[in-house]
Symmetry: D4
């Protein structure tokens, strides 16, 4: 119920002032003591709340996912290690675990967006885990993925050879560590939006991904926007929002 | 001509090997001595080459824009000061100068994209110049703009009150300095893509925009991607790419 | 009107749904085009909205202060230079200008808080402008100030000699640049809350106030909290909140 | 004995010059070889000396706490791991150990401050250990705590729904990692003092808490002061000082 | 085949347009799914593609090296730990493993460059692993090495005593940690090109090699260029390029 | 009067308790409103209080120096520009102004320390102003100076040729910008204490003196200690303390 | 005279011990009070001492160059502004001044190195001043230059089209600001040594050239070494050393 | 033999030119393959070469110390862990190991400097290991130590009470982590030289000792010079140089 609907209910006498007040302020939260689930997030922002496992115990992750599983079909947890995976599998045996990407997920077969694929390309083999975190997230949201890995700028013909494929995507996620030059090069070759993901691959002045981050943000090729270092998940959500056609709303729910 | 077309011409005997080789490698550049114009950029990336005035003399800016004016209708120059504006007006009297944004432009009335507006919101009055750099660029590319300024998080009701308007945009550019919290808050309220622009507004630990940049990249609200500090132009180009519907290509030009 | 009052009006039929919806979302803002004044801020946060002049033109500052003067008696603007002062004096001749502190203000004689003084001490003469920004703000909010300047740690007896005076304050603002050791020393001597303000005084490794900031945040003497470099204003507002007795609320307005 | 009392004793002939000199300089220290306990700290600063376990051996922690237990009822040690806890339990079996917060404490039932509760809110579940370090410290000093966890800005309705509760506190401790936006939002909603605690939760540009720290110090919402990253203890002591009513002193002990 | 040759083949009817297009774009890549080998790199850049083991599993390293062994004699992998070494030895028993340098290599006896030796000198014993990474790489490319280790500036006579030997080298690699002063001193003594390699040796302000890096880049002695911290491999490749006589090309392959 | 003397006076009845209390706490300070002069500093620390002009108005500098001139013969002010010099000359016509070093001083002919000279050497001509700030300060304290400038490490024979002169000094101040290697080299050549002063000479990665600072602090040559960037004054005071023979004290004044 | 020659003279009785000692230590320096010229540098390091004008007065620059002109034909000064140029022209009317590059020089027609050209390429028009500082220096040393400017990675065909020209150079200087990707791309295309020069072009996260510097040092394309930000001069000297054929020495002068 | 002596021998015919040349350049080094011992360092700089164990294998440490033991009585190794200690004890059973300080040493009973003690004071118990590294080094050089630990600024009376003892030392080493305020406070109380040692104690903004380092270098109390973070050894050597009386030299050996 949005504000207008609640007010209509009050005016109509179907809802008491006390209940309306509560609904307006507090209704969207499932309070679990150590966590407050944001049940309306899918409706409000276009995707379900996702569990970030780093800093959570395996048990906390399991309890939260189990609780979410009662109200939604798709489930997604990131930065999950083997211990999180084991604990979650106890309560949700159908969960998939992808160890390279640190992803736990349950796909919702009914969640399929009719759109062009989202292209995910990486500069090197070492960027695989970040690229896969993005790819698996994109699929969970319901989009399709075109994967093209290990096409870094030290051998430019590798990326030039896939230019047509990239231009046929709805948008692109470009994953690179070290000097982070790939998004600039890609953005100069194509006309689709490019989301750049710096990775922490490299040593010394690579500064755990900061060299790549600064390079991507300084790109001379406009059309590039950037997410946090190693944040394949964030890039995926941004790409899915981009790849989801906007619709003109009137009296939209949740407004 | 793309590679296939050139090859067809060679096979058909309409094009000599020498000419084909030159076309494949060097045809797309107008060499002006101190600058090489990239005449194919509009075709290849979706927008014309834009003149970045910082570090260029007024005369250089004027010569480049004049040269561009012979092959394209829309013109855009950023970071232009009064001296650039005067020099350009000598050779292109029809140019518009927007001093707050540092923008020189000539609109192309025929360049109109059929799409939802791009929303541009700013946290404070001091962020105006960056927000306007973005807005004027978006308009030059041919999209429409919804401006909503001074809606920072210290008074949350200001941004909450425009939520419906924001959800009705194709995508959003959110401009903020200081602690840079506005993109997180906006992204949690809406389902459209959010491009965050940190500004150099603030002092001390604001670090010339780095506090805002780090905050935006660390956002707990997924769906946000970020451009360089004060880079209204870059945000605008990224937003226009996002707001331009992708089309399925086959034998696409430039491929 | 708070949410409950609005709902009561709707239930009683005294307020249409449309009007209620607007009130719930947008009523608290005066939209001036380039700025949206937050008229409820005094009620909501305990102090009026203050004008931060840096990055605003003299004319913008003058228009905003003039608009504020129609709804409130006390006025305060920070980081004002001579040009801001002149423009504001045109429309508000009664305004006071304090050039060392960069403060423009109009005191409200009726705004007097019954509380202990707020002590403001500084390490060196060079910290004067920041200390005075704090002191003049505190007075504008309605508290009294005890000023004790130039008592840095290179001559410890200077601060030790005023220990009794400091313990008789409601809370303390300690302003220091360079190595920023004074808050640690003061906090070890007294039992009142200490708000530390690093200043940009110093050169080289002082890093524009960062050495002092880091030292203050690393203080081995608990009870110290810190604000931004040179942020005398922020320290003052925090001190005034601390120095204002809390009251138990029930059915509070704005809740 | 304060300076005046010592001088009176000397004048009266009850104290030799040698003894007075020693008292003025050295009386307040218990020298344990590797540590000098500051027995007057409670009297001077309002709270007992607390043991910081990081960098101390379990045995050192145990010896110091045992020694403190002979002169004071309340005991508190922070950053204690399991090894510290075991060693201390050997000599002080009544000690409580809180592993999430790394706190060892012995409450003093007689230490109860008559004041409003101190509100402690956190942005995410991962901030729990820091929030609990603060909460357990506050209780040891003798204040009461209102805990409200996991109310981050990605779902603003969570914090908006508890606004009344927060305004009914004496002061607030706001714990957040990542982009650290919660203190700005809270400070714009309430009128009580806000102490912000950045946490090291996050990765990449979160920079171990620095992104949150910079954001909190840059906050556009005045009234916020900040402590070190993960410093729940320091925030608690600052909050307790704030929450303890000031008293007008005359001839105060220790002055 | 270079572009001209391919075009000639097309004109002559020996090559179809489809095949030519593929050759122009994709022929130089061996796609292994998780990696795309750049088989033309030796031809194009003067040295084979080298396997960077950090972030690769032992199995990935083994598969890539095995694949490379089918088309080239010399093999080189850097940052290899014992696990990489074991996995590679399973499939390439003739591989050499140098644990101090983390190098896996197979020498190509036929790859011998006729040139002066490359001098490699280090400031301290602790810089050995980086110096050896450089030395073993240089040898794999086919140049000879003059090793002179532990000649740091705290005892200047050590480096002064080998000045003649250094001037008799084709170029010099100077490896140093801590304050990184050795390249400045060497460059002032000799007339050969100096490539400086900062190492992560040191603690505190040495900043993991950044103090040395900044010092080397700030050198008052011209003729010094610098590579990444601990990047013995990169220094070696740069030195080998320098030490390989340039030849005037006409219709060069790959042009 | 030290503490013991004051206590003796009280015991003897020559001093009232009130006066003694005041003397113990406040007697050593000349309160000038905006500044509190520390008149006992010479006695306590071995040198007079020095006026740091940066951030002070010319008038403030003049008033403070005039006040100091009533109680001491030697006067010293650092970071003085032409305006400070003019204002001070109005009230102290005998003052010397050294514009390169930014020093204002009045020598005290009676202040002569019997000690070896203090050697001051600089790496380049551009470091002159910092070296002279040190040299003029040393002379004001009463020591003699041996100046040797422009002996940087790019030509090692320049410093090697003055080794004997350096070893004949009481201690050495070594001033260098850029890579800051000179102190390491000097400290390896001599046995006297070396105080290193990084200067802000250089650009890019020299980072305003930080490259030199880090290098000096990371020096592999023990015996070097470091002061702030461009802090010739601080180096001079440290050197003078070192160069002043320690004396065994008993019942020392000020103890 | 080298050490051996001096010793022979002593043995033969042609040189006294005192004179020999002086020659061994001090002979190579022209002491001008504020500067010590290093007359042997050309002999020792392959190029004359160059005057760095930043931080020197116009008069100092003029005196030093005049003094150098008595012993050498070629003269070079960098970072010279108009004031330096005017002062030098007074005493050396034949000097050339290049304002874009800040270079003062006098060519020595007899200094011509027989070698391939040194290629200098830049990413953008704004990098011109740094590229020209390099080019003019290279020419002064006696090498020839191939200039190719404005070939940045946003339009890759610009650099690809000049690949043959680059491979025909002795070595390459690649100048780029912003994300600094050009050296990586060039190094992957050619087999000659690449010296990368980051420029301070850009804003925000470009960090005055640090983003480009970090990217260049992190380059995934081996063969790149790097000099300080904006250091066209240093790159030129390094390139000239590389481009000068090494010769096998025996009993070399200066050894 | 110094240069003059060697020349005299040559002139007298007692030494061939070849031998003299070798002695002038290479005589002072014991080449061990992986290390070159600097046997003249004690003579040249006042103290023996010390073994820095970090980054050396236990075996390397043992071999170097064993070799040194043949030419000198005193031995010292820093940053030694248990493994280094065990390996060294195998070959030098008389070695002492101090695990808290990480020091291995053999005292030379004949090395006793007649001087005042060197005072070593630390702010907290956690700084013990650094303070002891300094203390044990000082003793090995032959000076005596006055230890005063845990006298930090949170309880100022602790340091004030030992002021006389500090003034009776030849010089002071002040060890502190966190905000690093103790050296400023001590330097304001005493007249002896103060060497400040920042420690890596602390967390968050303490930045591994950088907050303390910056504070110490920014100290408003002149007379303080600083060494690297945790560098107790370096502070000790600097202090010993300071504490060793300078002697006027003529024809000094090694000059």
């Amino acid at each position: 119920m949005n504000i207008r609907e609640i007010l209509n209910e009050v005016q109509a006498g179907h809802l008491s002032v006390e209940d309306a007040e509560r609904k307006l302020g507090r209704g969207a939260i499932a309070d679990m003591g150590f966590a407050r689930l944001d049940n309306h997030r899918d409706h409000r922002t276009g995707f379900i709340e996702v569990v970030y496992c780093l800093g959570k115990t395996p048990e906390q992750a399991a309890v939260i996912l189990k609780q979410q599983s009662t109200t939604q079909r798709a489930l997604l947890a990131t930065r999950a290690d083997r211990h999180h995976a084991d604990a979650v599998a106890q309560v949700l045996p159908e969960i998939e675990y992808h160890p390279v990407a640190g992803i736990l997920r349950r796909l919702d077969p009914g969640r399929r967006v009719d759109a062009l694929p989202i292209g995910i390309i990486s500069a090197g083999t070492s960027d695989l885990s970040v690229a896969e975190e993005a790819a698996l997230t994109v699929e969970t949201v319901g989009h399709t993925v075109l994967r093209r890995y290990d096409v870094g700028v030290a051998g430019l013909h590798r990326v030039a050879s896939i230019r047509d494929e990239l231009n046929a995507c709805g948008c692109l996620i470009v994953v690179a560590g070290m000097e982070g030059a790939l998004p600039s090069v890609v953005s100069g070759l194509v006309s689709r939006p490019v989301i750049a993901v710096p990775t922490s691959i490299g040593y010394g002045v690579a500064l755990g991904g900061f060299a790549a981050l600064l390079a991507m943000l300084s790109s001379c090729a406009p059309g590039v926007s950037v997410v946090n270092i190693d944040n394949g998940f964030g890039a995926a959500i941004a790409a899915c929002r981009i790849n989801t056609p906007a619709v003109r709303r009137s009296g939209a729910p949740g407004a």
